[in-house]
Symmetry: C2
Subunit: 302 residues, 2 copies
C-alpha cells in the first residue's frame, strides 16, 4: 500500500478569548478547543453576514513565515471593518500554541480568524485553525489563469473606504465564484482585471511579473490586498540588485513578460503557464527560488 504524500494529521483548534484584550472573566486568553465539535453559534455575525477578517499563515518545518506581517495586516483589516483593536501578542502566542499542539509536519496551514462575534455581544469571536497543508506540488510546473473583470476601476476604492479595499474580510463569495468560473473555463486560477483595464490580483493571491531585471506587482492603492509574500520576495530581489516596483500592468503587459507568478502563503509561488490564450515561459529555477523565499528558507530572507 502506498502512503499518501501528505500525511493526514488531525487539525488543531485554538480558541482565542483574549483576541481583543484580556477576557472579562479573568480566564486564560486562549485555550485548546476540539476541531471536530461544533463551536460557533448560528447568530455569530460570521454566519449571518460573513462579517470578520482573517489571515492564512504558512508554517514550514515548524516555523511560521511572516507571522508579524500577517498579524499586522490582520490588525489593519480589523481596523478597516471597525472591529475592536486586536491584541497581537495574544494572537501570536495562540498561533504558536496551535503549531505546538499539531503533529510535526513539513507544511502546516494556519488560519487566524476574527469575527464580529455573536449579534449584540460586541465581543469578537476568534480562533486559530492549524492543519496539514494541501499538496500544491501540481502547481509548480505552471498554472492556467484566466482574466476576469472585477467590476471595479482602480481609482474607485481610494475615496470609498466602505468598499473595504485592502481589508482581508471573510466575505469571499465573489472570490470563490470567480475561481469556479476559472475551472469552468478549463483553467486553474483567476487574475482579476479592473474596469479600466489593469491587472489586479488573484482571488487568494498576489501578482508578480518579471521583465528582465525588473519585477512588478500591482500597487496596493489600486484596491488590492497588500501582499505579505510580495514583501518578502521584493526584499530578496532588491538585495540581488534587481529593480522592484508597484505599477499598473495591462493583461498584454503580463502576457508578454519573461515570467509571472501568483504568490500566496500556502500555495507559495505558482508560475503562470498560460494567461487566457497566451503561453508564458515557466522558469523552474526562479520558481524554486521564490518558493524557498516564501518558506522563509532562502539565505538572507526572513
Amino acid at each position: 500500500m502506498t502512503q499518501p504524500s501528505t500525511p493526514a494529521h488531525s487539525p488543531v483548534l485554538v480558541w482565542v478569548m483574549g483576541a481583543a484584550g484580556a477576557p472579562a472573566d479573568g480566564s486564560e486568553p486562549f485555550r485548546l478547543g476540539k476541531a471536530d465539535e461544533p463551536q460557533l453559534l448560528v447568530t455569530d455575525l460570521v454566519a449571518t453576514r460573513g462579517d470578520g477578517v482573517f489571515e492564512t499563515i504558512g508554517v514550514f518545518d515548524g516555523t511560521p513565515v511572516n507571522l508579524d506581517p500577517h498579524l499586522r495586516r490582520l490588525a489593519r483589516s480589523a481596523e478597516l471593518v471597525e472591529l475592536p483593536a486586536l491584541d497581537l501578542t495574544v494572537l501570536a502566542q495562540a498561533v504558536q500554541a496551535a503549531i505546538d499542539a499539531h503533529a510535526p509536519v513539513p507544511e502546516l496551514t494556519v488560519r487566524v480568524m476574527v469575527t464580529r462575534g455573536v449579534e449584540g455581544s460586541g465581543t469578537p469571536t476568534a480562533w486559530i485553525h492549524a492543519r496539514t497543508a494541501e499538496d500544491w506540488s501540481r502547481c509548480r510546473e505552471g498554472i492556467a489563469v484566466v482574466t476576469l473583470d472585477r467590476g471595479l476601476s482602480t481609482p474607485v476604492p481610494r475615496p470609498s473606504p466602505w468598499l473595504l479595499p485592502g481589508a482581508k474580510t471573510l466575505s469571499y463569495a465573489v472570490n470563490m465564484a470567480a475561481t469556479r468560473e476559472a475551472v469552468r473555463r478549463g483553467a486553474d486560477d483567476v487574475l482579476f482585471v479592473s474596469t479600466d483595464g489593469y491587472c489586479l490580483e488573484g482571488p487568494t493571491s498576489t501578482l508578480l511579473v518579471q521583465h528582465g531585471d525588473t519585477w512588478t506587482t500591482t500597487p496596493a492603492d489600486a484596491g488590492v490586498l497588500p501582499g505579505t509574500s510580495i514583501a518578502s520576495v521584493f526584499e530578496v530581489l532588491r538585495a540581488e540588485g534587481a529593480t522592484v516596483r508597484e505599477e499598473l500592468m495591462t493583461p498584454d503587459q503580463v502576457a508578454s513578460a519573461d515570467a509571472a507568478w501568483l504568490l500566496s502563503s500556502s500555495r507559495l509561488a505558482a508560475p503562470i503557464a498560460r494567461l487566457d490564450d497566451t503561453r508564458l515561459t515557466v522558469d523552474a529555477h526562479r520558481t524554486a527560488q521564490l518558493i524557498s523565499v516564501l518558506k522563509g528558507q532562502y539565505p538572507g530572507s526572513r
Copy 2:
C-alpha cells in the same frame, strides 16, 4: 415597571439536514435545535469564506409573508453560487416548524440560511432561525439616508456572473461597512449609487420612488437584488391603476420625488425623510398603506 414594547421570547433554531434533498442516513429532513448552543464547525465555509445564501422573512400574527417568493429567490441565489439544488418543500416545512415552535408574537423575523457546508463535505449546512422582530417603529416617521458609491457601474454585472449580481449571499461585509459609514455621517441608512450615477438599492433594502401616479424602482438587471417586497407593493399599486416601472434614477430624481421609501421584509417601508442634504416629504398615510401591504394584511394583497 414598564413592559418592553417587544416581548423577548427565546429564539428558535431548526436544523435542516434535507435542504438539498433527503438526508442520506434516512433521518428526518429537519429537527429542532438549541439556539443558544454552538452548532457550526469552524471549518464550515460560511465561517471561512462567507460562502452561503440567505433570506429574511417577516412573519406577522403567525403568517409568513411572501414565503414562496423568498424561497424561490433563495433557490436562485443557491443556483448562482452553484450550491446543490434546494428542496423548497422541506425548507417551507422547516420555516413553518420554526414559527410553530416560537412563542406567538405579533412580528417574527425568520432567517433561512444555506451555506456551502463543512470544507470538503459537499453537503450544505442549512438552518432556520426565528426570533421576535426588532422594533422598527422609530423608522416610521422617516429615516435619513446618504448616497454612497457602490464602486460598480450598472452595465458591469450582466456579463460577469461571478460578481454574483442578484444573489443574496452571506458575504455582506461591504453592506455592513456602508451602514456604519452612514451612522458616522449622522444618517440611518445608505442608498448605493453606481459609478455611472444611478441609484441602486440599500445594503438590506429596495428603493421605491413616487412621482405623482408613477412608482419606480431600480431595474434588477442593474445588479440589484430582485425585491420580494417591491413585487407585493407593485401588485397593489397596479390594481389601484397607478403606473409602476423599473427604471434607472439619479439621486436628483429621487430627491425631487413626491416621496420615497426603502423596503425590506423586516423593517418594512421606511420613508426617506432626508437624502444627503435634501429633505423629502414623508407621507404617513402611504407609509401605513405600504406597511400593511408588506405585512400581507392589506385588502387584496397576498
